[in-house]
Amino acid sequence: MSARVLVIEDNASSLELMIYLLKSFGHMPFRARDGEEGIQVARSERPDLILCDVQLAAMDGHEVCRRLKSDPALCLIPVVALTAYAMVGDREKMLAEGFDGYLSKPVNPEQIMDQLAPFLSRQTRIVPDQCGRSKPAVADCLSGARKG
């Protein structure tokens, strides 16, 4: 089941890791190095899933998410925050701002595909907050958050 996944990431190493992982598991990745580009790619490619870094130069991840969600053509595409902001409350903050899911860095390559699986199924992808279910709610606690 190959999916089209857009990765918006300004850190080259992190971007390379995600592209490599997605390809390794048979998905089709698209890359964007900043928010502006990310939105353009999203419009042109209509991916199944968008993984978006939060700390981006110029337009940050929150703004990207807001724009994606306010675009009727794009609003149904799940957007998962993939961020090194992993302190207490960050997960709630991002879900509240419109992200459909939240994954903290560093990612665990062995688990990441399981964590993204719910957003790749067409039946469930419009249901927000689903990505968080792959780990227990407590996982957001100070130590739990980093277990992901």
Partner: protein, 750 residues
């Protein structure tokens, strides 16, 4: 028969000698011994009758030259009391009746002389009875006359009334005069007509027997003809009056006396109960009466002072001239008034205002002195207290470090102003006093301040936290302005307390700025920590990520050395991540930047979540992970994330340091200092902690298991303890080396 004992004298009118002898003998034979004087003519008869010594007359009916009837007439006229018996030959019955009608006592025929004795005895007896009755009648008549005089001329009202009809039968002049009714009016009334209220027996039912009846007395109220009511003291007793059972009543008007008595009683009570001590002495100064107040103020009983001279109260604190002046004044008949210091029985001194008034009798001679005292100690003390209180408040007013204005509530004019306010606002006293508040130029908005004043008058209280006042120099001074109105004696005043809050405002502003600064610093620190976290994690993402892909052999196969070394990189990278996380968490906790959200929690739910998260980790090591908890929810109020993190930290440790057996989270409650605590224990069957290591357990960067694989950062327990404190909890532990440890979180239940 008294007459016979003294010798009976009979006058016998008889012309026939034989008959005379026969009658004498007959009387003698019938036991009547008498001295009989026989007469034949009218002359002899009159003569014998006149000498007086006659007790009975016997007379023949017909005589030559005289007659029995004529003799009867003479006897009736001169000695009507004497019995007169005809002793004669046969006369007709009509004549016999005629003689009896004419006053004869009896009639005895000469040929029936055997009746004579009986007749004489009866006549004598009747005569004696008549005589006795006559004497008695004479006495009665005399008594009545005397009584009549007494009755009529009695200066006290007196009347007689019929006991049956209650009608007046007689009244005296005094009654007529006093009650205003005429005699005719009286005699037409009953006693009920003059009774205002029924008489009250003064003797309370006791009665005294009199010859003619019962004497009664009492006081009743009578109504006079003019309608006025009088108190009458009544004495009465029963008599027979003109054949009627009657009551004679003596009435004395005691209205005045009663009034006087009442007045005296009141005056006496007033003097007795007067708050002022009163002492009455005779002209020599000996005490004859004192009132209760006197005994109370001096401490002497009445018995102790009666007959004594008031000098027993002398304190010795006043000189001879003082007392000399007093005596000179009162002996001159003048009133003396001064403050005197007296010594009470208990030795204490009394300051008294004493007024001594001489009392003169009707002849103008001084007979008594009356002294009235007023204890002024209380007054003096009160005045003194008042003065010092006023002085205190005056000083307070003068030296206050707040501005104070006193305003007359009615005229709205300023009455007083304290120096501090003058200095604060730069106006002189003259510029304040006599003006209305808004005439001075303190207020920018005169209309608004007039409204405020009206409100103050209505509510009695007004307060402004921050009111700008203008000083004389035109500077605006922020003040706290508090006004309240209250009564001083009769007049209502308004007190305004005005506090310069320039300094306070400056301070408040500085504080606010400082707070903002601190807030900013805090924000900056938070942001710094967040950025730190972000920046440290970002490179780790690539390190851990690509180590992972390599170990997953995504790029291609690995030899054993490569795999081993990459595993070391992975473990070290993860350890570094843990260190970074714990350090940042600690930094947050220690700088008080952890936001705590208290919410009601059920411990079992949080425990289940922790177990769900950590069970895979335990099971990966072949350990059982169990939960033991009561069925009913144990509720606490705490921050969910903090509670979770503590339990995860403790459970993580337990799993980390246990090689076989189990880790159990166990919930119970316990009582402590009247509080019910939730106790959540994490119990492992791990390596335990040596006694010597237990002290170091909660210190930073301490990891005690030197013989164990170095997995932790050494910050976990330290952080957990800090977090427990944040939710009002604490952590305890028990451990036996080689057997296992129990870590216990205690949190108050909700």
């Amino acid at each position: 028969m008294p007459a016979m004992q003294n010798g009976l004298n009979i006058l016998h009118l008889e012309d026939d000698r034989l008959d005379a002898d026969l009658i004498r003998d007959t009387l003698t034979s019938q036991g009547i011994v008498a001295n009989i004087v026989g007469v034949e003519t009218e002359r002899e008869f009159r003569s014998s009758l006149g000498n007086g010594k006659v007790d009975l007359i016997l007379a023949d009916y017909s005589l030559p030259g005289f007659s029995g009837m004529a003799a009867l007439a003479i006897a009736r006229e001169n000695r009507p009391e004497l019995p007169f018996i005809f002793v004669s030959g046969t006369i007709g019955e009509e004549i016999a009746i005629e003689t009896l009608k004419s006053g004869a006592t009896d009639y005895v025929l000469k040929h029936r002389l055997q009746r004579l004795g009986l007749s004489v005895r009866r006549a004598l007896s009747e005569a004696e009875e008549r005589l006795r009755r006559k004497v008695a009648d004479g006495a009665l008549r005399e008594s009545e006359t005397r009584y009549r005089v007494l009755f009529d001329h009695n200066p006290l009202p007196q009347w007689v009334y019929d006991l049956e009809t209650l009608a007046f039968l007689a009244v005296n002049e005094a009654a007529i005069h006093h009650y205003g009714y005429s005699r005719q009016e009286f005699l037409a009334m009953t006693i009920k007509d003059i009774h205002h209220r029924d008489c009250v027996p003064a003797l309370g039912g006791t009665v005294t027997a009199f010859v003619n009846g019962l004497a009664r007395s009492g006081v009743c109220q009578h109504r006079k003809k003019d309608g006025s009511i009088i108190d009458a003291e009544i004495t009465s007793h029963s008599i027979e009056f003109s054949g009627r059972q009657a009551e004679v009543v003596l009435g004395m008007d005691i209205t005045e006396r009663k009034r006087a008595e009442e007045r005296l009683r009141l005056q006496s009570a007033a003097l007795e109960s007067a708050a002022n001590a009163i002492v009455l002495t005779d002209e020599k100064g000996a005490i004859i009466w004192v009132n209760d107040a006197f005994t109370q103020t001096t401490g002497y009983s009445k018995e102790e002072v009666l007959g004594k001279n008031p000098r027993l109260l002398k304190s010795g604190k006043q000189n001879h001239a003082f007392y000399q002046d007093m005596w000179d004044t009162i002996l001159a008949g003048k009133i003396w008034r001064n403050t005197i210091i007296n010594r009470c029985k208990d030795g204490t001194f009394n300051h008294e205002d004493l007024t001594i008034t001489p009392i003169r009798n009707s002849a103008g001679k001084i007979t008594h002195f009356v002294g009235i005292k007023q204890d002024i100690a209380e007054k003096t003390r009160a005045e003194e207290a008042q003065r010092s209180s006023e002085l205190r408040y005056r000083r307070l007013f003068e030296s206050a470090k707040d501005g104070i204005l006193i305003v007359d509530a009615d005229t709205r004019q300023i009455v007083d102003v304290n120096p501090f306010l003058m200095e604060m606002l730069g106006f002189s006293k003259e510029e304040f006093v006599g003006k209305e508040l808004w005439q001075i130029g303190l207020f920018k908005d005169v209309a608004a301040s007039k409204l405020a004043f009206a409100e103050l008058q209505q509510r009695g209280y007004i307060r402004y936290e921050d009111l700008p006042l203008e000083t004389r120099e035109g500077l605006v001074k922020p003040v706290e302005f508090v006004s309240n109105s209250y009564l001083v004696g009769e007049s209502r005043v308004i007190q305004c307390n005005i506090r310069d809050i320039t300094e306070r405002k400056r301070f408040e502003q500085a504080l606010q700025e400082k707070n903002i600064e601190l807030g900013n610093a805090n924000l900056a620190k938070n942001r710094f920590l967040a950025n730190m976290s972000h920046e440290l994690r970002t490179p780790l993402n690539a390190i851990i990520g690509f180590t992972g892909t390599l170990l997953m052999r995504l790029p291609g196969p690995l030899n054993a050395d490569q795999e081993h070394q990459l595993s070391i990189v992975q473990t070290s990278a993860r350890h570094l991540l843990s260190l970074i996380n714990d350090l940042l968490d600690l930094a947050k906790v220690e700088s008080g930047m952890v936001e705590i959200k208290y919410e009601p929690l059920v411990c079992q739910e949080v425990m289940e979540e922790v177990a769900e998260a950590l069970r895979p980790l335990a099971e990966a090591k072949g350990l059982e992970f169990k939960i033991k908890a009561p069925k009913s929810g144990v509720r606490i109020g705490a921050d969910r994330r903090i509670l979770s993190q503590i339990l995860i930290n403790l459970s993580n440790n337990a799993i980390k340091f246990t090689e076989k057996g189990q880790v159990q989270i166990q919930l119970s409650t316990r009582q402590s200092n009247g509080q019910i605590l939730a106790s959540i224990e994490v119990i492992d069957t791990g390596i335990g902690i040596r006694i010597e290591d237990q002290k170091k357990l909660f210190q930073e960067f301490q990891q005690v298991s030197t013989d164990h694989r170095n997995e932790g950062t050494g910050l976990g327990l330290y952080l957990s303890e800090k977090l427990a404190i944040l939710i009002n909890g604490k952590i305890e532990f028990e451990s036996e080396y080689g057997k296992g440890s129990t870590f216990r979180l205690l949190v108050p239940t909700a």
